[in-house]
């Protein structure tokens, strides 16, 4: 086969990376290039430089070092038995491409992942080389996210943390049994152990940094993972329980959910269906409830049917419908925790209400201003000039709350 040029490789290796949901470039330290004279900064916030027609933000150059892979994970387009076109970048090609894109302000940094070639160690070493070269040789101050390979030597992962802002290890499937079935070369326990090790190192480095500004950084943006939704039979309950364990057990910063999408030359064991985008959306909402609204998994799943979240209403509303006795909530009195449970009220809105109510009793019009809209929450709240009356007792409350069924923007133009 003729040698591929950088553009052709880019086409193949960006295409292969598009199934990874993680893209965020946030949560790291602040860094600039004024002092180093190099290129690149991180603001701690992350900037989306563009948006693809799939609605997802493009903030990082998200590519694979190579899509050759000796593993054979059924859900993955790069698995060894897939017939996709293969390509491999050299370390220098990735470094140059990152810098070329960064200098034109197309991206915030690099998200580098890879199929496993020759051996996990060999592959991990190449990934580390890219990051190291960018940081040391080119004084690159932009964001670097490396996908690590759990099967690689822990020392290599430790190296990766020195140069990367964030590390991730994709668990992909929520149960060990599913991993064994769909990713025969991988092991659930090993993945979790690697995550726990990383967590330990991240915490350790943070403690050291507090003592001395000179202590080395280690993955200051934390670590994350991705789970594929809809490739195997796992239900939402299994997925959320796994997420919750990962958040509390191994200190994960984020769990990304990726609706399984049809891939070219799919393994025969996978569903041939449109991606369950609405399910993915509900899982993100539930995940948010776990992380920011103080819900437990069992509360969220209280209204689930057969282990699955309600697709018609969002999980917070589903919970409220099941727990009507706790409503209406008086916006002028209720504690923060309860405000956070009001359907249609987010963390920002709650903050604004808490601040505003120190100045006087809030009326519906005030709330309208603070939260943009009260449409979703009216049935659940009491304000100075508002009480939902017997609304909550109505038998048809749920049907009133359900927006007319609509196709999840799959092909909305």
């Amino acid at each position: 086969m003729a040698q591929l040029d950088r553009s052709q490789k880019l086409e193949i290796l960006a295409d292969a990376a598009k199934y990874d949901a993680s893209c965020a470039s946030s949560g790291s330290i602040k860094r600039g290039s004024s002092k180093t004279g190099g290129i690149g900064s991180t603001t701690g916030m992350g900037i989306c430089h563009s948006y693809a027609p799939d609605g997802r933000c493009i903030s990082l150059l998200k590519i694979l070092l190579t899509n050759y892979c000796m593993f054979d994970c059924h859900y993955c387009i790069n698995r060894s038995s897939s017939g996709v076109r293969r390509a491999a970048f050299t370390v220098d090609e990735v470094v140059d491409l990152t810098l070329d894109f960064y200098k034109r302000n197309y991206i915030e940094g690099l998200f580098l992942s890879s199929g496993i070639i020759r051996s996990p160690d060999y592959t991990m070493e190449l990934l580390v080389q890219v990051a190291k070269k960018l940081r040391i040789e080119h004084k690159f101050g932009g964001y670097i996210h490396l996908k690590t390979i759990p099967e690689a030597d822990p020392d290599l992962l430790a190296d990766a943390g020195l140069y990367a802002d964030r590390l991730s290890i994709n668990i992909e499937l929520p149960s060990d049994a599913a991993i064994e079935e769909f990713a025969p070369e991988k092991s659930g326990p090993l993945i979790r152990k690697t995550m726990a090790d990383l967590s330990g190192r991240i915490t350790e480095a943070k403690v050291e940094r507090r003592k001395s500004r000179k202590a080395p950084l280690f993955a200051p943006g934390g670590h994350s993972t991705q789970m594929i939704v809809g490739a195997d039979a796992s239900d939402d309950a299994a997925i959320l329980q796994t997420s919750s364990k990962l958040y509390t057990g191994v200190g994960l910063k984020r769990v990304y959910y990726s609706a399984f999408s049809p891939i070219p030359d799919a393994s025969k064991r996978l569903p041939l269906a449109a991606p369950p985008l609405m399910r993915e959306h509900r899982l993100y909402q539930a995940d948010w409830m776990l992380r920011f609204y103080g819900f437990s998994v069992s509360e969220i799943l209280g209204g689930a049917q057969g282990g699955h979240l309600d697709l018609e209403v969002d999980p917070k509303l589903a919970w409220a419908l099941m727990n009507r006795d706790q409503f209406p909530v008086d916006l002028n009195r209720a504690p923060r925790e309860m405000l956070l449970r009001v359907p249609g009220l987010g963390t920002k809105g709650v903050g604004a209400i808490l601040r505003a109510r120190r100045f006087g009793r809030l009326r519906l019009a005030d709330v309208e201003r603070l939260c943009r809209s009260t449409k979703k929450m009216r049935a659940w709240i009491i304000a100075a000039d508002w009480h939902p009356g017997r609304w909550l007792d109505g038998a048809n409350l749920r049907s009133k709350m359900v927006r007319p069924a609509r196709q999840m923007e799959l092909f909305a133009a």
Binding site: A17, H49, R56, S82, R118, Y122, P264, K268, L362, A413
Partner: protein, 476 residues
């Protein structure tokens, strides 16, 4: 009416100065008008009354919001800001009340400015214009909605310290040469080059990272409104990508084999009997005698010795390797060297009794190049394989195994007459001649070439899985 003339759209210092004087004099907001530049030249308005003795106070937080909001393009912003600071003199906590209408408006302005700043951080696209003394130079054209150009300069300086750059907007330009940041007059789109070599790669990336199975244009539009598109090179691709998305996704679903159960049979290319030979051997010994006696085999670089297959004539499984190696050549037996030992271990792990299997090679003699005292393995050519194909097929007919395992590319070529990618075809039971099954996997020597133990372990387990799968195809 008191008319305040500000020097420019971004003359925040001028507004602060005026606001301080007005507050000192206790001037009510209704009596003040703010104008930009020359607009007030011909109408001076009333003078600001002399200062009283109450010192104006403004909280730092409020001032922060005001400074941001004043970059907005709304002409009323200066008056609004003055009204708020005036009210703050009697209601010092006004800025803490998000429900206050003036504050609400101010915050909305500030928010819109911050968003515009954010979008400028995001959507500036540099084009490279040259390189001098090792420093690259880049230029960009951008059209912000508000008066933010100067405000973003620091961000770009901190991000792009190591290169020279210039950003031109209709109202102002900012430039960095490694030493100082300069603000200059505005310009036009035609002032900056319209091309850059890397831009086409960026577009390639943009098109490739988009997953057509997840089209959500509304979400995209919300974050990247069409007003920014004209200066984003990748935006030109959006209509096409959107249009083709559904068809591309359906094609992916359609292309997957619909029944998905049975692996496709591979059409086996017929083997050619050599001159003077005829098939139908009634045993392995006569077959190998005939092969030994045949005088037409490719001799170049080959050992003279023939290494026959090994195992019971009625074996139910047959394993086909590439060719004998150095040790096999000397021992006259297949798979006794390092690769053979590895295969033995894999057999053990898959619970296959080698004594019950038939093990042979596609090419029956060792091909090598001599290097000093060493004989280095050399790959058999397609002609070499072609020569032995017929013999291999005779061997298969004698043994009549139910499952055949092709170890590596040479075996696959010998068994099918075709060059097939191992990775694509391995690990599945393929319908083969008669009712037999063919399973393709790697040659054990491939594992020996992997650089470390971890890689070998992974591949070993895969090999064992393949062998187990082959074994599972045997009728119980």
């Amino acid at each position: 009416m008191i008319r305040i003339a500000l020097a420019s759209q971004t003359d925040i210092a001028g507004w602060r100065e005026a606001a301080r004087k007005l507050l000192l004099a206790g001037v009510i907001p209704a009596r003040v008008e703010f104008n930009i530049g020359t607009e007030t030249l011909f109408d001076e308005g009333d003078p600001i009354p002399p200062p009283g003795d109450r010192k104006p106070v403004i909280s730092k937080e409020l001032l922060g919001d005001i400074q941001t909001a004043l970059l907005h393009s709304d002409p009323e912003r200066f008056a609004l800001a003055y009204r708020i600071v005036f009210r703050a003199q009697t209601q010092p906590k006004i800025h803490q009340n998000p429900a206050d209408p003036d504050m609400y408006t101010l915050r909305a302005l500030a928010k819109s400015v911050r968003r515009d700043i954010h979008k400028m951080h995001a959507f500036v696209r540099f084009r490279k214009v040259g390189e001098e003394n090792g420093r690259e130079s880049f230029v960009s054209w951008f059209e912000p909605e508000h008066h933010i150009t100067e405000a973003v300069a620091k961000f770009f300086q901190n991000r792009f310290t190591g290169m020279n750059w210039l950003i031109v907007t209709p109202e102002a330009s900012i430039a960095w040469d490694g030493k100082k940041l300069e603000v200059g007059p505005g310009g036009q789109k035609s002032d900056v080059p319209q091309e850059d070599a890397v831009e086409s790669e960026w577009k390639t990336y943009y098109a490739s990272i988009f997953n057509p199975a997840r089209l959500k244009t509304k979400a995209m539009m919300a974050e990247m409104p069409a007003k920014y598109w004209k200066n984003l090179p990748e935006a030109a691709l959006i209509p096409g990508l959107t249009r083709e998305a559904e068809a591309r996704m359906n094609a992916m679903i359609d292309n997957a084999s619909p029944d998905g159960e049975n692996a496709p049979a591979i059409a086996v290319k017929e083997t050619q009997a050599p001159a003077h030979a005829s098939g139908g051997f009634d045993g392995l010994k006569p077959l190998y005698d005939a092969l030994r006696a045949a005088n037409d085999w490719p001799r170049e670089d080959f050992s003279d010795r023939l290494v026959p297959g090994e195992g019971p004539k009625d074996a139910r499984m047959m394993f086909v390797g590439e060719q004998p190696g150095d040790q096999e050549d000397q021992a006259g037996r297949p798979f006794v060297g390092p690769a053979g030992q590895l295969l033995d271990r894999a057999f053990a792990a898959a619970q296959i009794d080698r004594g019950e299997a038939y093990v042979t090679n596609a090419v029956k003699r060792f091909k090598f190049v001599q290097r000093g005292k060493r004989r280095i393995h050399s790959k058999p050519s397609n002609d070499d394989i072609e020569y032995y194909r017929w013999w291999l097929e005779q061997e298969r007919q004698v043994v009549e195994p139910q499952v055949i395992v092709a170890l590596g590319a040479t075996a696959v070529r010998a068994l099918t007459g075709k060059t097939l990618t191992i990775s694509r075809n391995r690990s599945q039971l393929i319908d083969y001649i008669g009712s037999s099954k063919l399973l393709i996997t790697v040659h054990p020597s491939y594992l020996l070439r992997l650089p470390d133990g971890a890689g070998q372990k992974v591949e070993f387990e895969k090999l064992v899985r393949d062998l187990s799968l082959a074994k599972s195809a045997l009728p119980a």
